[in-house]
Every structure is written in structure tokens, then in C-alpha cells.
Amino acid sequence: MASTDRRAAVGAASSGAGEYLVADWVRVRAESFGLLFYDTRSTRLTFVRSGDSLVPPPFVAARRVLGVRASGENAPPALSRLLENLVARGLIIGAENDS
């Protein structure tokens, strides 16, 4: 329940700019250090020290948007670099927000 509330708040904070979708072949969950990604194609794990700046979508959903606490021009450089790194690894995909 707590994570649902948190996700709603994050969703509002990140609207307006481009958003990031978790790749179809990837699962991700929250851990104390940040996010833990699992690539179903290789069964490899990626540990990401993101604190609470990134919030995972539900495990199974039609469109899984990664919650970003500060995005676009408001994103700290380190967070932008982290997102670029995750895109480069094929774990998330950048998408234009059509809302």
C-alpha cells in the first residue's frame, strides 16, 4: 500500500517530460539500496544504487513506466547519467510522454 501511494506521487512529479518504460523482457523491484533489475533473456541481475529517486512499476502490467522523482531539466546530472546507463544496458527504454 505504501509503495502505491509513493508511485502516485512520483508519477505526478515526472509528468511533462519524456518518460522511461521498463523493457518488456525486464523485471525490476525496489530494494533498500535502490532498484534490482532482472533480465529475463539472460537471467542476469543489475544492482542499481538509486536510493528512492527511481520507483519501479508493477511486476506485470501492459505499460510499465519507471517512476522518476525529478526528470527533464530538474534531474540532477547523476540521475540523468544513471538513466542513460540503464537505457544503454537495455533495461529501460526512453519514450516521449504523450499525455
Binding site: 523485471r27 523491484r29 532482472y38 506485470v60
Partner: protein, 343 residues
């Protein structure tokens, strides 16, 4: 992106769960990690209980279930279980002896894709495999593999438990797997289940351990999971975990729902609870047995220069040989080879 340090951070749920869905098996392998396989066990979880466990695994956001047994495909509702796991977004890996694989089963598995299939074969040669898995099994297993290969099954690996009898065939085994478009997986022989009785006959000699470590070091493409993390050179260990994941990254569920720290420690001394009596999340989070594993530290290894690479190795091997968890892995390279010879 930091990985090695974060991987030792306590997780709120396992990454994967080994689930032995039945004790039923049509083979009697000399090294089987499970004890007493043959007929289905008493009190095995029924399909409704399996669905409830899958619901719990999904709530916990467990990424992967490694299904085993016994022979999981001997369970009449096993394809239903795989389908239910898929619906919940859980990745399935199945360890099978391959003898019941036929055209119909392969088509069903392709419909449920991805299902990572690991077929056990304990030698590149008929004589070697049949000594371990039983007379006539090599041909039956190969028939299953050929059926999978003829359908272009995409997620196939051939697994060999490395013993004194087959260690000389590792390269040949790798070639055989390639011939079928499969990956090679090597697993460590541990003295659990039926392996307790065959330990002295099957365990690797000192020279074989060194040769295997060298081979794995030179062949990073061979899958080993965490089997050899304590035994192999530093370069190889970076491919997987550098510490025992029992009760931290993984845990095991027995056919009757009993929960253990890992599939190699399904011993009454380590039963942490039962999923029919308590949610797996509660067992994983608050079991004293699991808490003990998370605090486990092999003091006698702390001074070793390889401690950060293996943290004392596999506690299951130490337990079954010495009835103590606080013992170094008996097959650690540093224990069998002088320091100057170890990479």
C-alpha cells in the same frame, strides 16, 4: 554501476527460489541432491497450494523459480504450474532428466516460452553417463535432447554434475552441447541427498579440482551458476556470485512445502518453516534458521587473501562432511593447492 558491493546487501526477497515440485522420479542417479526420490512424497503440495505459493512469490516479486524434483514432468499438473508462473511474470527454469521429453511436451513448452530447460546428462559418453544415471539412460536422454533440438528449442542447456567419473569428458561434453545448439552447464557435486553415500567414490581428486578450475577459467562461456565460486580462479568468479546465496539471494521449497536455505541444505536441521503454515515472505524475513545463515562467517577463512572472493565457500559441503557450518569449504583451492600455485 556498482554490483559487487550491493550484491551483499540484504534483499527483501529472494532473487530466485528452487522449488522441488515432486519426489517422483524414474531414475536413481548416484549423485542426486535429493534424498528418497522415487514415488511421489507424502503431502506434496496440490495444484491449489501451488497456485497460492505462486501468488506469494509474485507478491514478493521473486524473479525466477528453478523447478526441480524428482523429475518435475512426472507431475501431471506441472505444465499448469508453469503456465500459472508465466501469468504472474515469474521466469521458469526447469531441471529435467530429459527422458520424458516428447514432441507434444516440447510444443507445450514453446507455447509457455520462455521456459529455460536444463537437461541433465552426466557424461559425453554412454558408458560414463550410464554408470551414474543408470543403464540405458544415455540413449533416452539424447532422444529427448534431439527432440528439443529438432524444434529449435531456444532456451536449452545441458547440465553435467562434475564427478571423478566424468571430469575427463568436460571438453567433449561442451562439444556435444554445441552440436545441439545448447549451452553447457557444469554443476558441482555436493554430498547431499544420495550424494552422501557416493561422495568418496565421485568427489574430485586434488589434481582434478585444479584441472577443472583451470578449464573453467579459460572458458567463461560455460555456465556454472554459483557452483564453483569457491573453487575457481578470480577471473571466473567475477562472472557469478562471490558468496553463498543461501537464505539471502535464494531459498528452496520442498515438495511438501517445507522451506530451506538452499536446495543442497534440505536437511531437518535447516527447515525454516512450511508454506502451508506461514507465508514464504514471513519465513524468509523472520526465520531464525535464515537469520543464522545471514550471519554465517567462517572465522578460520578470514585471514585468507581470497576471503573476499568466496567468504568461506559452500556451507552445504562443510555441513554434510563435518556437521558444522563454520568450516571452510573442503574443496577450496587454497586448501588443496599451495598459495603460490593459485591464481
Amino acid at each position: 554501476m556498482p554490483r559487487t558491493t550491493l550484491s551483499s546487501t540484504p534483499l527483501r526477497a529472494p532473487v530466485n527460489v528452487t522449488w522441488e515440485v515432486t519426489k517422483a522420479c524414474n531414475l536413481r542417479c548416484g549423485h542426486c541432491l535429493s534424498a528418497g526420490v522415487g514415488a511421489p512424497g507424502r503431502g506434496e503440495l496440490d495444484l491449489a497450494q501451488c497456485r497460492a505459493l505462486l501468488d506469494e512469490l509474485a507478491r514478493m516479486q521473486v524473479f525466477q523459480v528453478n523447478f526441480g524434483g524428482g523429475e518435475p514432468f512426472l507431475r501431471a499438473d506441472f505444465l499448469d504450474i508453469l503456465g500459472e508462473a508465466r501469468l504472474r511474470g515469474i521466469t521458469s527454469c526447469v531441471s529435467t532428466n530429459g527422458t520424458v521429453v516428447d514432441e507434444i511436451l516440447v510444443e507445450e513448452l514453446l507455447r509457455l516460452a520462455p521456459v529455460y530447460l536444463q537437461v541433465s546428462l552426466d557424461g559425453a559418453r554412454r558408458k560414463t553417463n550410464d554408470l551414474i544415471r543408470g543403464p540405458g539412460t544415455y540413449d533416452r536422454i539424447l532422444a529427448g535432447i534431439e527432440t528439443l533440438a529438432s524444434h529449435g528449442y531456444p532456451d536449452l542447456s545441458l547440465n553435467m554434475v562434475v564427478t571423478r567419473l566424468n571430469v575427463g569428458e568436460v571438453a567433449e561434453f561442451d562439444q556435444l552441447a554445441k552440436r545441439y545448439g545448447a549451452k553447457t552447464r557444469l554443476s558441482r557435486f555436493r554430498p547431499s541427498g544420495a550424494g552422501c553415500a557416493s561422495w568418496e567414490d565421485y568427489r574430485l581428486t586434488r589434481d582434478q579440482l585444479v584441472e577443472l578450475a583451470d578449464y573453467l577459467g579459460a572458458h567463461p562461456e560455460i555456465l556454472t551458476g554459483d557452483s564453483f565460486f569457491a573453487l575457481t580462479p578470480a577471473g571466473r568468479r567475477t562472472l557469478g556470485l562471490n558468496m553463498c546465496g543461501a537464505a539471502k539471494m535464494t531459498c528452496a521449497v520442498a515438495p511438501d512445502g517445507s522451506v530451506y536455505p538452499c536446495a543442497f541444505l534440505c536437511d531437518a536441521a535447516f527447515c525454516a518453516g512450511n508454506v502451508t503454515a506461514a507465508p514464504l515472505s514471513a519465513i524468509f524475513g523472520s526465520s531464525p534458521v535464515f537469520a543464522r545463515f545471514r550471519q554465517l562467517s567462517v572465522q578460520s577463512c578470514r585471514a585468507c587473501d581470497r576471503f573476499s572472493d568466496c567468504h568461506g565457500g559452500c556451507p552445504a559441503v562443510a555441513w554434510f562432511l563435518n556437521k558444522s557450518l563454520d568450516q571452510p569449504d573442503p574443496e577450496c583451492l587454497r586448501r588443496v593447492v599451495p598459495a603460490k600455485e593459485v591464481a
